[in-house]
């Protein structure tokens, strides 16, 4: 499906995210990676998980920063691709029922800069060396009954 037509959500409960003063920290509980992103990245992420489509996000940023559409579109699309590649967001199963409206609380920088997704992998070895397996009702290891 065309990514620009999709709606997304945080890949919960695997991913937890917190936004503080326009910066977002995300932690992947499954593989030990953690991430941070800046104000523009936070804006894109928050709009996505609040139901906006990529074209809506692009249009708003293009208007705000008076920039060329192609540049903004490719930047946003690339960033969303990164979020998906890192399993931070997943396509939403159902379309959002409430129309997206821009979050006026998020402060944005005066100049548009391509959003950066910082990835940190230093905790991953910890999980590999001393793994803790969560045992659920159906037992561990999980049996593939397919």
């Amino acid at each position: 499906m065309n990514r620009s037509l999709m709606h997304y959500q945080i890949n919960s409960p695997r991913i937890v995210h917190e936004t503080i003063d326009g910066e977002t920290v995300m932690i992947d509980f499954e593989n030990g990676a953690y991430f941070s992103t800046d104000q523009i990245g936070t804006k894109i992420l928050e709009d996505l998980i609040n139901g906006a489509s990529i074209p809506e996000i692009v249009a708003e940023l293009q208007l705000r920063y008076a920039m060329e559409h192609t540049l903004v579109a490719s930047t946003v699309s690339q960033f969303v691709g990164q979020l998906q590649d890192e399993s931070l967001i997943i396509p939403q199963q159902d379309a959002p029922t409430v129309a997206h409206s821009p979050d006026k609380q998020l402060s944005l920088p005066p100049i548009f800069t391509p959003p950066i997704l910082n990835k940190y992998s230093d905790m991953q070895d910890l999980l590999l060396l001393d793994p803790i397996h969560d045992v659920e009702e159906d037992g561990w290891p999980k049996v593939n009954r397919g």
């Binding site: 917190e18 003063d21 932690i27 803790i132 969560d134 045992v135 561990w140």
Partner: protein, 348 residues
């Protein structure tokens, strides 16, 4: 999880059997941690010298109604084996590779560590816990420097307090929480401050609370120093333990006796510091965003503690919104570090 609840109930009977088998050697210890009265009930004495030194500074008189009771025992000393583990763990437990199995029901939270065969189990309804080892000689360094960490994380978390991977030091002006991943300089900073006469709350793990105001509580009086750095702190030699914990990459110290006037039970948190090793001679401070503070504190805390991950992130997010965060760029002149921190605490 029915199997876990059955296991938990059986465990109480097993512990009572263990107590009977070593009756004359059973003992209780009481501690005040994070404002709570906690009782440690030992079936036998074998675990007492291994698990209590790090808590010595928090020892308190016998309390008639402790908020939490932790039962502790060892198979090798009592001759009592644990009941069979819940059969939800289908595989044979790995003999060589380290692994833990975290099970939970509405009532119980349990962690089984393999291959050391160490059990941590909390009864959330009865406010009772069990810490059981197959053989105390297999206890890793972590269980001596930060005893009962998992059980305290679970129980104190339910009381609205949060364990954090970090050190804390301070003055009469308040406390500085030192956070960051391993190797960032937290322990070196904490040891330098202790050596210089500042208050010491803890090295590896502390307890924090946001209500009614940001506060850091002491958990452990221990400290760890890399063998390569021992000569920088010759004064600490008296506090070094001779107990042969296994897998020791660092020397382990218990400071309760030598530094009794500097070990404090709690301090108000005035600042969160993110130590990093700098290139120059001088130690300096750079204000950083709350998100940076969370990034330094949350991952290492979440991935070193078992369970309650989302709750941990929420607690720590709240904390970084309440106090300022600074990067503490450490200079080669480590003697100056405590003064930089002390002056900052006076200023805030």
């Amino acid at each position: 999880m029915q199997n876990l609840d059955n296991f938990g109930e059986t465990l109480y009977r097993v512990f009572q059997e263990a107590q009977k088998s070593v009756f004359a050697l059973c003992c209780d210890r009481f501690y005040r941690i994070g404002g709570h009265n906690i009782r440690l009930c030992f079936a036998g004495e074998s675990l007492v010298p291994l698990l209590t030194p790090a808590l010595a500074h928090l020892a308190s008189p016998r309390h008639p109604a402790p908020s939490l009771t932790i039962n502790l025992g060892e198979s090798a000393a009592t001759g009592i084996d644990l009941p069979p583990f819940p059969d939800v763990i289908r595989m044979s437990l790995p003999q060589n590779n380290m692994a833990g199995f975290h099970l939970h029901s509405e009532r119980f939270n349990a962690l089984l560590q393999s291959p050391q065969q160490i059990l941590h189990m909390l009864d959330k309804v009865q406010n009772q816990a069990t810490f059981w080892v197959s053989d105390a000689r297999q206890l890793p360094l972590a269980d001596g420097s930060a005893p009962l960490l998992t059980l305290l994380h679970w129980w104190l978390g339910a009381q609205g307090q949060q364990l954090v991977h970090g050190a804390a030091v301070g003055t009469d002006a308040g406390g500085a929480l030192l956070v960051g991943k391993g190797g960032s300089g937290k322990s070196t900073t904490a040891m330098a401050c202790l050596n210089a006469g500042l208050y010491y709350v803890g090295d590896d793990y502390c307890l924090v609370a946001s209500d009614p105001k940001p506060t850091v509580y002491s958990l452990y009086s221990s400290g760890k120093i890399h063998f390569a750095d021992l000569e920088r702190f010759p004064r600490f030699q008296t506090s070094r333990t001779s107990v042969p914990y296994i897998d020791a990459e660092k020397a382990l110290y218990f400071f309760a006796e030598q530094f009794s006037t500097q070990l404090v039970t709690h301090l108000p948190i005035k600042v969160i510091l993110l130590p990093t090793i700098g290139a120059g001679q001088t130690t300096r401070l750079l204000p950083v965003s709350p998100a940076s503070g969370l990034l330094a504190m949350a991952p290492s805390t979440v991935f070193q503690l078992v369970g309650e991950k989302a709750q941990t992130i929420q607690h720590l997010s709240r904390l970084v919104r309440q106090v300022p965060c600074y990067q503490l760029v450490l200079g080669a002149d480590t003697i100056a570090i405590p003064e930089v921190i002390s002056e900052l605490l006076d200023r805030l």
